[in-house]
Amino acid sequence: MDKQQPLLSVKNLKTHFFMDEGVVKAVDGVTFDVQAGQVFGIVGESGCGKSVTMKAVLRLVDPPGRIVGGEIMLRRTNEDGSTNEAIDLVKLDANGKMMRDIRGAEIALIPQEPMASFSPVHTIGDQICEAIMLHQSVDKRAARKIALQMLKDVGIPIPEQRLDEYSWQLSGGLRQRAIIAMALSCNPRLLIADEPTTAVDVTTQAQVLRLLRRLQEQRNAAIIFITHDLGVIAQMADSVMVMYLGLVMEQGPVETIFHNAKHPYTQALLRSIPTVTMTPRVNLPTISGSIPHPFNKPKGCPFHPRCEKSIAGKCDARTPALQAAGERQWVSCFLYHDVEVSA
């Protein structure tokens, strides 16, 4: 790991949902570090716990869900710009003053569904100004000015007019930009982008990605970037974490993961991306089997029923822990080590 202290350091985070039907272990021991100024990608199939992990970081997990273990260390910045001690967000009151000061101001969220993420009965300007006035001591006029500048920064045409419009009057691409503008309006040091491009077309997607990249470089913010799309990860991220059923399978710098993936799941994911050199109209390899239902997760390594290299008597009995496997690369697989998750 870098000499530098990470901005966000999540250790063995567990978030479970206690339903009448049983317990869904949506996040079951996730560990990762995000450095300041870095783009940290998270990939994984639908339902593997990406959004829940991020909700936990923001302390927005609602009942019946609860953080049942682990820590989320956030390094805070002093008034003079120097950094001070990290605090554990898990220990804070989720709706307390401290956590509310962090949400929006230090960690901001670009939610997964831009279409429904604005209230339909409040103007865009109202909702952006609200965030600004909450964290900065400015009046309405000044807040509106900042909001206007934000809309300009994210490339929304005729921003004065857009401020007084409602989200449903905006096209999908514009709405996505407005959401980004709102998230950036308080200069967060960590931006969580939960699939910010799934709801827009390819052209808009490219624009949004460029925009995020540029804003991140200008402001030296860290971005946690969640997506299903490994192509987008290759383009955006510095590091990447691969999740499967609430666990981290593999983690490392983006080049290492793409060129020297160790985990069979990561390898399988990479094989399923089309490349230009491929023969046209040949079926892409897919990962055999489907994701198990969250109520009956397989015993042992969660991936073993679908894994080509699974070791009988080992992978189906014990769960491998995330261990260093080369420089700055971590993998949880018994092919590379023999350390299991302590119960």
Binding site: K55, A116, S117, A131
Partner: protein
């Protein structure tokens, strides 16, 4: 927005006209007319009335004319603001209806205010504290509220008020104010009496509204915009009141329109049990006696109030919800 209101106001006279035809047709639809039942009543009590007199009365009220002429004459006097004469009481309908209508509306508004004052906060509490013990208590109370017939509730409350508070709670006034002209003291006296029937009338509606508010709000609380608002760092109660509560209220506002007439007609049995001088019993008697101009006038006023109520709730909804406001623009 203005266009929307003007449009609605322009439709209003046509609707009233349409309803007047339907109402007139309905009240004169039963076989016979006021005089046949009047004569029959006299005959059964032993006295009689000679044919000439009956003819004179017929002519006076236009009962010898065909229906469309009767309707036309009714409309003619209505357009002058005159509701006609009551056949039975031989007094102007305006006079008969006047105070009773005021009291009916006052009672309905009171019941309405009580309903919303209680149901909205209770619904919000239930939704934001889902499955807490108070949520369960409210749920049980709501079921009881919906299931209890309001005349029974009236009897129970009257009995409780009488035996524990020593209050005689029938009517809307103390005896000395019943015939008195309107004065400040009479209004105060009305306020002292109106709350009990208002509660009786409001209970079922309150229970229903609480359930609906709870369900709407639970729906809204799961919407992504709530997460967005929380992620800004707003305090929980600010989030809840600014966003989901606002959106949960919109569909309720559009029901105000048909809530008022429901209160008017629902009050008949309660009015009878509690001896309230409102319009329900008057309408019932007018209908059974075939006092057609009186019944017709009351029904037409109901229709008018319903239309106005709907208009008000449409306007409120348009004010609250920009999606509706901008639809027509």
């Amino acid at each position: 927005m203005l266009r929307f209101i003007v449009q609605r106001l322009l439709i209003l006279p046509f609707l009233v006209l349409l309803f007047s035809v339907i109402v007139f047709w309905l009240v004169q639809a039963p076989p016979g007319d006021f005089l046949t039942s009047y004569v029959a009543n006299l005959a059964s009590s032993g006295s009689s009335i000679d044919a000439e007199q009956v003819e004179a009365l017929k002519r006076q009220f236009g009962l010898d004319q065909p229906g469309y002429i009767q309707y036309w004459r009714w409309m003619e006097s209505l357009s002058k603001g005159d509701l006609g004469l009551s056949l039975e009481y031989q007094r102007p309908n305006t006079e008969l209806i006047g105070e009773r209508l005021v009291l009916t509306i006052a009672l309905a508004l009171f019941a309405f205010v009580i309903t919303w004052l209680f149901a909205i906060p209770a619904g919000i509490y239930s939704a934001t504290h889902q499955n807490s013990w108070l949520d369960y208590v409210l749920t049980v109370l709501n079921y009881i509220g919906v299931a209890t017939p309001n005349f029974m509730l009236a009897l129970i409350l009257m009995w409780l008020a009488f035996s524990y508070l020593g209050l005689s709670v029938t009517g809307l006034f103390s005896p000395e104010y019943i015939q008195a002209p309107w004065s400040w003291e009479r209004v105060v006296d009305l306020m002292k009496h109106i709350w009990l029937p208002a509660i009786v009338l409001g209970v079922a509606g309150t229970a229903r509204l609480t359930r609906v508010m709870r369900a709407n709000l639970l729906d809204e609380l799961n919407k992504p915009y709530v997460v967005t608002a929380r992620a800004k760092g707003l305090s929980e109660w600010k989030v809840v009141f600014k966003y989901p509560v606002r959106l949960a209220l919109n569909p309720l506002v559009s029901t105000i329109g048909w809530y008022l007439p429901q209160l008017f007609s629902g009050s008949l049995i309660v009015a009878t049990v509690m001896n309230l001088p409102n319009i329900g019993p008057l309408l019932l008697r007018a209908l059974t006696q075939q006092d057609m101009y009186l019944a017709g006038s009351i029904l037409l006023i109901y229709c008018f109030l319903t239309i106005v109520g709907t208009l008000i709730s449409d306007i409120l909804l348009a004010l609250l919800d920009p999606r509706i406001r901008m639809e027509g623009a």
